[in-house]
């Protein structure tokens, strides 16, 4: 198990390195001018030669690609991700400023989604193959297929504009109030919109894994032994589906910081997702690179954790390893 874990960690590290190099190279090889971040802001007016030279010097663009990458990597390992071309501020400062709002939104929506979807999924698993279960599954697929921005705009129009029960946009009001109640009030609608989307996914997941357990031969045996239905549901339905949830960590972890671009945009939420979009549009490659590496690292870490955690929690997976 230890050797396996080490092997996986090494693989993860190499993946992140490769990812950062590819992103770096893609930006270097993109057609167009490397100083486009400055140019597009100048609405297409060419920089004069003196300024161009000064910028190339300042950004170290004259060196060959591998040298530039190594210097970036060296700095990055020491926590310096460079300066944003657009704003001239440190990339770490830009990212950390946006991290809080994004975590707030993503954690709230994931919690909401899990709290609502797991009981729903388990309940459907107990009613599996009934008319109720089938129609609920169709409903969940439909919910999952709904474009999230459409759903959000609809809820905005109803809840914020028509009934005025929640604020339309923003994380904090202009009045400067920042108490917990105010924050939750602003968080409610965007988090609910995101949660609705995730809910459809998690509920189906919980329902299917629990149903699988409840249909197994072990369940039949447990029932034959005279265990209570509640106990059977817990041991053969809920518990296995919770273990299976660990494997979803690989998906959940990066999504916590990648930010929900559409929701952040629609609700004017000052998160990382919007920063990413603005950076891409402005060709602000230090920011895009940093975001890509951070999200990439979290994806790799997430899948690593899911893998190792799954093995710790589920003896069957461990067994597969030792067989191999």
């Amino acid at each position: 198990m230890l050797a396996y874990a080490l092997r996986r960690c090494l693989g993860a590290l190499l993946t992140v390195l490769a990812l950062s190099f590819v992103t770096f190279a893609v930006f270097a090889w993109l057609p167009g001018d490397p100083l486009a971040a400055f140019e597009s802001q100048r609405r297409g007016r060419a920089l004069d030669q003196a300024r161009r030279t000064a910028l190339v010097e300042e950004l170290g663009l004259a060196a060959p690609l591998p040298a530039r990458y190594l210097r970036w990597l060296d700095n990055a390992l020491r926590g310096d991700l460079g300066r944003s071309l657009r704003t001239q501020r440190q990339v770490t400062e830009e990212l950390s400023h946006r991290l809080g709002p994004t975590l707030e939104l993503s954690i709230a929506s994931t919690l909401l989604a899990l709290l609502a979807s797991l009981p729903l999924g388990w309940w459907l698993a107990r009613k599996r193959e009934s008319l109720l279960d089938r129609s609920a599954l169709v409903g969940l697929v439909a919910l999952y297929a709904l474009p999230i921005f459409w759903l959000a705009m609809l809820l905005q129009a109803l809840l914020a504009v028509h009934w005025s029960v929640v604020p339309l946009y923003g994380r904090l009001p202009a009045s400067g109030a920042s108490g917990l109640g105010t924050r939750l009030h602003h968080l409610a609608l965007p988090a609910a919109c995101l949660a609705l989307h995730q809910l459809a996914f998690y509920a189906r997941f919980a329902r299917n894994t629990a149903a699988e357990g409840l249909d197994s031969i072990q369940t039949l045996f447990a029932r034959a032994c005279g265990l209570t239905e509640a106990r059977i549901t817990w041991r053969h339905g809920i518990l296995p589906s919770l273990v299976a949830l660990i494997t979803l960590a690989g998906l959940v972890l990066p999504s916590l910081v990648s930010g929900a671009v559409l929701i952040e945009t629609l609700f004017a939420w000052p998160g990382l997702g919007r920063l990413f979009v603005v950076a891409i549009q402005a060709r602000d490659y230090p920011v895009v690179l940093a975001m890509t590496v951070v999200i990439g690292s979290l994806t790799v870490t997430g899948s690593l954790l899911a893998d190792l955690g799954g093995r710790l929690a589920d003896p069957r997976l461990r067994h597969q390893v030792s067989e191999r």
Partner: protein, 536 residues
């Protein structure tokens, strides 16, 4: 070259209508949050993204310019009709040879930290902005036109130019940089009518009135909410969370159907300093668009009136690159009419006939085929391109659509001149000088003469216009220039867009200029809530 170097070939992405509606013009608004007292005296506007910076020496994107102009102050301002008006300079005089400009400064202008604004600050501003090692500001190029800036005494500034340069005055709309503060000062000390209060990045930026200013605002506070989505901005206007916002053409339509909203909100429209055009590249005798008759035929084949109707009349046709609201505009120069029949005749005169009957014109065995290059970015651009394609097909010109990502577009358009014809938007300067677009010197790589115009008459008129300081004489020169441009038609002007702005009816003192509701004198300084109660 006058003020606002920023605005060059515009960003097609923004194809005017929609984005202008939503993005460029500011929006304003009032809080749903705060207490009643807090809201009175506050106007809430919206903007789509954070400004890149608030640094006076680095501002180069639209919103950075807006804020540096509000927090800062300049020697010269522009009024709603873009005429220069005194600000920190109470008066200015040109020397007889028109190479020296002398400003007298007012004595009561103060920096936000209480220090007086003096001639040393003006010299400092010029030095910082012309130093190539210090980043780049949208004002740098305009500042470089002066060869020397000196301060004979505390209240006098003398600017020397190597040659007479009429657009020079506009460059002194540059927000001044305090000499006694560090560059990129985190305190953002300016000398303008608004002080920087706070900036929660991604959320909002707040300015408060500078009551010490010699022309202090009537409101207490301006709150700029950062709302990237147009629909959300419009909804926020409906809920009263914003007091003002730009609208898209579609939103204007729904607004006009909603009587409730119209009771509460008013709509105004202003033509922005921008136009959308097709440049026909003329590389010399061999090229497709070398013959002026062919270029004129292209213009006459495109129904530009119909195009404006596609955009709900939120734009207008035009004849040349001279803005209809500018003082140099000659209204006797009218756009070529839409006349496909006449277009065919012109093409025939130039030797183009459909000899093989395939529906496409040809000459000496070569078919009339070309690509129209443009930058991807908005559905509107695609719509316009398709419209032009269809219209030209009707006169036998086969045009292919050549869409490019912005950086590729810039590279091919400006640096390689790799296109037959090019469609884009262009942000005009406040000064009517069109040197960048049409002078033969600007055909080189990196410059903006996209049509590759090389016409001795045009060159001479442009140069003469730049040298002539007398307004009447200059207007006469530009009148001749417009006639000549119209005659040789190097570009087809598709339209001049307008930007609709909706605002709370109780807000008084709101005016607009081609630069929007904020970027002129008095701009937001004149806004105030109606006496009978201000905010709801």
């Amino acid at each position: 070259m006058a003020r606002r170097q920023a605005g060059r070939p515009a960003f097609l992405i923004v194809l005017a209508l929609s984005s202008l509606a939503g993005l460029l013009p500011a929006t304003g608004c009032n809080s749903a949050g705060g207490s009643k007292d807090d809201r009175a005296g506050t106007v809430r506007l919206a903007m789509p993204a954070d400004p890149a910076t608030l640094s006076f020496s680095r501002a180069h994107d639209f919103w950075s310019l807006v804020f540096t102009e509000l927090i800062g102050d300049a020697l010269v301002g522009l009024d709603a009709s873009l005429e220069p008006v005194p600000r920190i300079a109470t008066q200015w005089t040109w020397s007889e040879d028109h190479r020296q400009l002398t400003f007298e400064l007012r004595r009561d202008a103060l920096w936000h930290d209480g220090k007086p604004v003096t001639s040393a600050d003006v010299v400092h501003t010029w030095k910082v902005l012309t130093d190539p090692t210090h980043g780049n500001s949208a004002w740098s190029a305009a500042m470089s036109a002066a060869s020397r800036v000196s301060a004979p005494d505390r209240w006098t500034v003398v600017v020397d130019y190597d040659e007479p340069f009429a657009p020079a005055l506009g460059s002194w709309c540059v927000p001044l940089i305090p000499a006694h503060r560090p560059l990129d000062d985190p305190q953002l000390v300016g000398c303008g009518p608004w002080r920087f209060e706070s900036w929660d990045r991604g959320a909002r930026l707040v300015l408060e009135a500078n009551t010490e200013h010699y022309a202090a605002p009537r409101l207490r506070r301006l709150v700029f909410e950062i709302i990237p989505d147009r629909t959300t901005r419009y909804q926020a206007l409906k809920t009263g969370e914003l007091d003002m916002t730009g609208l898209t053409p579609e939103q204007v339509r729904t607004f006009r159907r909603n009587e409730d909203l119209q009771r509460r909100l008013a709509i105004t429209q202003y033509r922005i300093l921008y136009f959308f055009f097709v440049a026909w590249k003329d590389d010399g005798p061999g090229s497709l668009f070398h013959d002026p008759r062919v270029r004129r035929a292209m213009t006459m084949a495109i129904d530009r009136e119909e195009l404006t109707r596609l955009f709900d009349d939120l734009c207008e046709t035009g004849a040349t690159a001279f803005h209809p609201d500018g003082w140099a505009f000659d209204q006797t120069v009218e756009p070529w009419p839409y006349d496909p029949q006449r277009a065919r005749t012109l093409l025939a005169e130039a030797g183009w006939h459909d000899s093989d009957g395939d529906g496409v014109l040809d000459r000496d065995g070569k078919a009339f085929r070309f690509g129209l290059m443009y930058a991807l970015g908005s559905a509107e651009t695609e719509r316009i391109a398709a419209f032009v394609q269809q219209q030209l097909a009707a006169v036998g010109a086969e045009m292919t659509l050549d869409a490019n990502e912005w950086a590729v577009f810039l590279d091919r358009a400006r640096d390689k001149r790799d296109y037959d014809a090019l469609m884009m938007g262009w942000r005009l300067d406040v000064d009517p000088d069109v040197y960048d677009l049409f002078h033969s010197n600007q055909r080189t790589t990196g410059r903006a003469n996209y049509a590759q115009v090389a016409d001795a008459q045009i060159d001479a008129l442009i140069e003469e216009g730049r040298r002539t300081l007398d307004r009447q004489a200059r207007r006469a020169i530009y009148s001749r220039l417009q006639q000549r441009l119209h005659q040789i038609e190097p570009v087809t002007v598709l339209f001049y867009p307008s930007s609709p702005l909706a605002y709370d009816r109780r807000l008084e003192g709101l005016e607009t200029s081609p630069l929007g509701p904020l970027r002129f004198i008095p701009g937001a300084a004149a806004w105030h809530w109606a006496a009978d109660g201000g905010r709801p």
